[in-house]
Amino acid sequence: MRAGPGWLARPPPRRRRGATAGGAAVWLLAPGGLLTLTVIVVPFVVALVMSLLDLDQYTFRQWLSAPFVGAGNYVEAVGRTSLPHAIWVSGSAAVIATLLALPLGVAAALTTHLPFRGRSLVRSLYLIPYVLPAFVVGTIWRIILQPDGVANQGLATLGIAGGLWLNGPKSYLALIVVQAWSGWPLVYLLALAGLQGIDDSLHEAAALDGAQWRAKLRHVILPLLRPPVALAAIISLLHMVNSFTLPFVLFGVPSPHDVEVLPVLTYVESFQNLRFGLSAAMAVISLVLILVPLLVYLRTVRLDEPEATA
């Protein structure tokens, strides 16, 4: 997915000089092109073909002669599985978790923007949720959120009965909280980079004009932070919609209904139910869904015009 944007966004050659510089220049792209072909194009085409076949444990051995079912898998995925529900769960949880992560990340960036004693320590601490592997995050939260876990013990001292967090309606809340927890440092990183990039002269000008911190924040800093934060929001959204390991470790399979997310559903169809064709159709559908924010992302960052932003 990471390699996708650059490749998809490659514009038609605008500067003719590059293209006419001779066959040699184009030829130099061959290794990259070959890599793109093996890493992206071939698997994608294979997935697309698989999604049109009735491919399961009975037909896998001679998979190319598996019965062709056309859009059958797609119809089944949308109509007779919990795919629409899973799309809703994944999408809505990702949006809410991103909205939670944004203010947290920006606030964290503001607290470590100006130098103070121990700033580097605080900055490192902020990155902990980000550098922990997803399965570790999942395991830790799974332990915390057990019926007799730390979370419920803490709530009990406040006189609140915590109840179930890893199953039932509240598991949706747990999914959002854990995703936001592991997702905010990304916002923080990008917002911090944005803050550091704001020219000192702007701060000076604002100060000369007598702006208080609140006005400065609102009229100078936040508007300038918009591009990096928007970028952070979209990357985080994509990341959360696609997140497999975290919900898998946190809730296990079969997933409780309230947290049946798209990647886990796709995994279960493939590796537990052995419906490879159906699962491929689900994967293609989720790819199409992911493309929507991805295209917004491409428009936002305009990778094709690096000079324009400089």
């Binding site: 071939v42 073909v49 444990q57 190319l64 019926p147 007799d148 179930l164 296990g252 079969p254 139910n273």
Partner: protein
């Protein structure tokens, strides 16, 4: 279409084959004198397993003049992926060790050697094996792919001290009796049973056992029978332990199998049903070391006092590992020689002494019954029953567990809601049936 399919196949084969050949310099196709075996990584005895690999290879070198290289997989998913890549590329391990419940699925792929009478003779004949262990080798006695290798039957651990203190002389042999004993043993921060409701596999084994004991194997003649009254009763019983009988710690809604073992090990539960002999390693280091024993689980279904007609007194699912030989293997005869070597009483004894997994070799198993510490486990091995032999079983299994997962919110609220249970079972039934209908 055909041309493009051919191209695709070539492209895919290329991407698949590159890593396979790259990691397998000693591939069997090359010299014909190396056998590759894929086996589950033993997380309890990793060092011993490495030593065992070396010993087997050395011994086989001596006997057959061929090398054996072992590869391990960490999870069933890893194994499935390996099987898929090998099937597609037509090369990979010659022999796979498969979990028993995965054998029907493996059989349905048609990728493994269906043993002929002649081939059985080469590995010492079907008589070499404990009859019960052959129960999940194939759909019938003439179509078998799985050669029983190890046996890990499920039993129930019980805390001798707690039972004695409550004046109970031995664990009950009926599920109703067990519930009664569990009630008696619950109190003072202790619970009668330790059950892992949050486990991805345990729940279906209970439901299957209680159902088949009442005469419903869950799948018969290609028909799923999940909404059968005896199965509903099984769910009510199993879910009721926590929800209404209150003989299980309420926290158990989130437990995996290991957490149930830990709770029993800490002395917080009197019975620990649905564990294999491998739990011994953990329990012998726990607070209950020396104070616990193993017994077979009840074989009389809920609501009955004796086995009903048509019921099967199964103590456990048929559990353990089968060896299967890949059809693409160019060394099938050599593979049979290795299997023959691994299933002799002598090899199986060494394996049992090292890993604590029971033999499938009948001669050795019959000798082990004499050991009182093992009596219950060996007894369970001989009374274990195979789960339905159907390529769609994995979906049925998942549907059975799903009913429990989705019932957890009700459990936590202290109820077994019949309306929601029936709705979940109806949904599970239709999903299971759809999977069975896809059989080819």
């Amino acid at each position: 279409m055909n041309a493009s399919r051919g191209l695709l196949a070539a492209a895919l084969a290329a991407t698949v084959a590159i890593p396979v050949t790259a990691c397998d310099p000693g591939s069997s196709a090359e010299d014909g004198r190396t056998l590759n075996v894929l086996i589950g990584a033993n997380s309890i005895y990793p060092t011993e397993q490495k030593q065992w690999f070396a010993d087997v290879s050395a011994k086989f070198q001596q006997q057959a003049g061929a090398k054996v290289t072992f590869e391990t997989f960490a999870s069933p998913t890893d194994e499935l992926t390996k099987i898929q890549t090998s099937m597609l590329s037509g090369q990979g391990p010659d022999i796979y060790a498969l979990g028993t419940t995965f054998t029907p699925t493996a059989y349905s792929t048609g990728a493994f050697v269906d043993l002929t009478a002649d081939q059985w003779t080469k590995i010492g004949g079907r008589d070499r094996f404990l009859p019960a262990t052959l129960g999940i080798s194939g759909p019938d006695a003439t179509h078998e792919v799985g050669i029983p290798f190890t046996s890990r039957p499920f039993v129930m651990a019980y805390n001798k001290e707690l039972l004695a203190a409550a004046g109970i002389d031995k664990p009950a042999s009926t599920w109703d009796g067990l519930r009664q004993q569990a009630r008696q043993l619950t109190g003072a921060g202790r619970y009668g049973l330790a059950v892992a409701y949050g486990d991805g596999f345990d729940p279906w084994k209970f439901i299957w056992a209680m159902s088949i004991q009442a005469g419903n194997p869950l799948v018969s003649d290609g028909k799923a029978r999940l909404t059968d009254p005896v199965t509903v009763k099984a769910y009510q019983t199993y879910l009721g332990w926590l929800a209404t009988d209150k003989v299980v710690d309420p926290a158990a809604t989130g437990w995996k199998n290991a957490q149930a073992i830990a709770a029993f090990g800490a002395g917080k539960a009197a019975f620990l049903p649905m564990v294999s002999a491998t739990s011994k390693v953990t329990l012998d280091k726990s607070a209950v070391a020396g104070k616990y024993g193993y017994a077979v689980m009840p074989t009389v279904p809920p609501g009955a006092t004796s086995l009903p007609s048509g019921g099967v007194g199964a103590t456990s699912i048929l559990s353990g590992d089968n060896l299967v030989i890949a059809k693409y293997s160019k060394n099938q005869d050599l593979a049979l020689r290795l299997v023959n070597m691994l299933t002799t009483a002598e090899s199986q004894e060494a394996y049992y002494r090292t890993f604590g997994e029971l033999p499938t070799n009948a001669e050795l198993a019959n000798r082990l019954v004499a050991d009182p510490a093992l009596a219950a486990i060996v007894d369970s091995a001989s009374k274990a029953h195979g789960t339905p032999f159907h390529g769609g079983w994995s979906k049925v299994q998942l549907a059975l567990v799903n009913v429990v997962v989705q019932s957890v919110p009700n459990l936590a609220a202290g109820k077994v809601d019949d309306t929601s249970l029936n709705a979940l079972l109806a949904q599970g039934q239709s999903e299971a049936q759809a999977a069975l209908d896809k059989a080819k």
